[in-house]
């Protein structure tokens, strides 16, 4: 008998999460993006692993659906890299929830990721994680606005030229 209530492994919750991810296919199919049942299971497993690695716990469907809905219209996501990209975005998301000390809401963090991914990173997950998100987290930890940019690298000379 398991008395550690906090550690209940709820297979029911996992099944619900897979079903919810599959429901997103209805919306994403317009962009030619569809996840198979196995890929949906893999996403849920990645979520569990990311949560565990980052010392977090989540109830219900979580943020997978929000990430899918936000990123499905990205010009940098195709049917060939769809599942892999969503997996990596999710890992990044939980990592930066911790790095930002939970100072940013889920929606704001996902929007920031989407804007950076489609904008300055031009579809590069490495740039998104190691540059944009890292800088944003540092800014938040130091009390600056998320998009605060230090002008160290681009100091103007006397003529106003870089």
């Amino acid at each position: 008998m398991a008395f550690e209530l906090i550690r209940i492994s709820s297979s029911l919750i996992q099944e619900q999460a897979v079903a919810e991810i599959e429901k997103c296919n209805y919306l994403t199919s317009r962009f030619g993006l569809v996840l198979s049942h196995n890929e949906a299971i893999e996403l849920v497993e990645t979520r569990s692993l990311s949560l565990k690695n980052n010392g977090r716990i989540e109830f219900g469907g979580g943020v997978i659906n929000i990430i899918i809905n936000e990123f499905c219209d990205s010009p940098y996501i195709t049917k060939f890299n769809y599942a892999g990209t969503i997996n990596e975005l999710m890992e990044m998301f939980y990592n930066y929830k911790n790095e930002t000390l939970d100072l940013m809401s889920d929606d704001d963090l996902i929007k920031f990721m989407k804007n950076s991914f489609d904008g300055t990173c031009q579809g590069s997950l490495e740039l998104l994680s190691d540059r944009e998100l890292a800088r944003m987290a540092r800014n938040l930890r130091h009390g600056y606005a998320p998009d605060y940019l230090e002008n160290e690298e681009f100091e103007e000379d006397e003529d106003g030229e870089y």
């Binding site: 008998m1 209530l5 010392g55 943020v63």
Partner: protein, 453 residues
């Protein structure tokens, strides 16, 4: 028929006051009150309720939460439910509630009880503060003050950390509380302290102060329980036929106590109990709650007396009154310091001296007042060895005067001192450690009686 007791299914001894809900759930399953399905239902409800509370905690901004925070919220939920279950008439009916009520309902009921307990505790705290005795003991005053238990009423988080007791409590009460946490712990602690204060208020606070000075001159800084000392001494007074209010046990009384109390533990407990009955009558204690608390403390007093008899340390349990104000004082008159010009010349000379022996000879020859010596110690950067040698030249009263002026402080207090003063204090401490026990004791005795004029 009147002797027939109700048979309980739940084994009370296996329940924890701290984790009442989880231990009750376990016992309810073991005893068959809850089936496997019932247990699963309770577990699922707990997780669902945790999800709801975590959402509230995040204000809907985040779907995930750190594991440690979730665990703390879970503990808080279970504690609140446990408070409701504890409030029921018996453990069996509490276990049945797990079957018939939802987790959410039980939580809401527990939450209302905690609200009430919080208000009751605050009321008891205010009562306890108003009847606190006038005593200089630091931990006693700090614990009762606003930055001690008072913190609890400002920071207690009933919604998410109901199981925590955020308060700074260092004062040790006579009957320590274990197996309780959260508001229950604070309520019990303040209640106990209220009883201790009520009892101590039967005695004059100055007499209590003199009694505790008899226990230790520096009792202000010690982690002692005032009530326990007062109770033991009052009982001792009864045993030797003295007036308990006086708390006055003389050396002759100690001899009588030694012979009277050198008995078996059972007989000692009886003697203490008889003395307690007499004490209650003489002090005219009417409150049954106070009497109950004192009765609870008797076993501790009995153990202390028994150990003291065995180790021949009865004066620590029954200290004699010591009025520090009545002790003869040693007056230390400050003489006039030398002229500035003359002093500067000596300092220059001392700074130009290469040999320690020359420096010592110069001090011996030219420095005649305590004030000048104190200045020289600060103005000339002597090495540690040199300072030690200067201290060796001093007589006991001069050493005591130096210690009085530059008391040896704890690391925390020493933070306020300048580097030179810190060095001087540490040299003084080392110098004292080097002295033999008798001389050190004599110097400290002088320090306690020294009055600088």
């Amino acid at each position: 028929m009147a002797n027939i007791d109700k048979r309980n299914i739940i084994d009370r001894t296996r329940l924890s006051g701290e984790n009442y809900f989880t231990t009750l759930l376990k016992q309810a399953c073991v005893s068959g009150i809850l089936t496997e399905n019932n247990l699963k239902k309770v577990q699922i409800q707990c997780v669902e309720f945790l999800a709801y509370k975590c959402e509230r905690y995040n204000s809907g901004d985040s779907s995930s939460i750190r594991v440690e925070i979730a665990e703390s919220i879970m503990k808080s939920n279970l504690y609140t439910i446990g408070i409701f279950l504890k409030s029921l008439s018996d453990d069996d009916s509490a276990a049945l509630q797990l079957k018939t009520q939802t987790i959410s309902d039980m939580y809401q009921k527990g939450r209302r009880i905690i609200d009430t307990k919080f208000k009751v505790t605050k009321h008891i705290y205010l009562m306890m503060r108003s009847n606190k005795i006038d005593n200089p003991n630091y931990t006693y005053n700090a614990t009762i003050g606003g930055s001690g238990i008072g913190i609890f009423f400002k920071t207690y988080n009933i919604d998410f950390e109901a199981h925590e007791s955020p308060a700074s409590i260092d004062y040790q009460i006579c009957n320590p509380i274990d197996n309780l946490v959260g508001v229950e712990f604070i309520q019990k602690y303040t209640e106990n302290l209220l009883y201790e204060n009520q009892f101590c208020r039967y005695f004059d606070s100055a007499t209590i102060h003199h009694l505790l000075c008899g226990f230790d001159d520096k009792y202000e800084d010690l982690l002692i329980n005032i009530f326990e000392q007062v109770l033991a001494t009052a009982l001792g007074c009864i045993i030797v036929g003295q007036d308990p209010i006086s708390l006055n046990i003389t050396r002759e009384d100690i001899c009588i106590l030694r012979s009277k109390l050198n008995i078996s533990v059972n007989e000692l407990a009886k003697t203490v109990r008889l003395a307690y009955n007499s004490l209650v009558n003489q002090l005219d204690i009417k409150r049954s709650s106070l009497k109950k608390y004192i009765e609870m403390s008797l076993s501790q007093v009995t153990i202390n007396i028994s150990n003291a008899v065995k180790l021949d340390t009865l004066p620590t349990v029954f200290p004699s009154l010591k009025n520090m104000d009545l002790l003869p004082k040693i007056r230390f008159f400050r003489q006039e310091k030398m002229e500035n010009n003359e002093y500067c010349k000596i300092i220059e000379e001392l700074l130009s001296c290469r040999l320690t022996s020359d420096k010592l000879a110069l001090i011996k020859e030219k420095i005649h007042t305590f004030g000048d010596l104190d200045d020289v110690l600060f103005d000339v950067e002597f090495s540690i060895a040199e300072v030690q040698m200067i201290f060796n030249m001093l007589d006991e009263v001069d050493s005591a005067a130096l210690i009085k002026r530059h008391p040896i402080k704890t690391d925390v207090m020493a933070e306020e001192l300048s580097e030179t003063e810190l060095n001087l204090c540490s040299c003084l401490q080392k110098h004292m450690e080097q002295l033999n026990y008798d001389k050190r004791k004599r110097i400290l005795e002088i320090v306690s009686r020294l009055v600088e004029e």
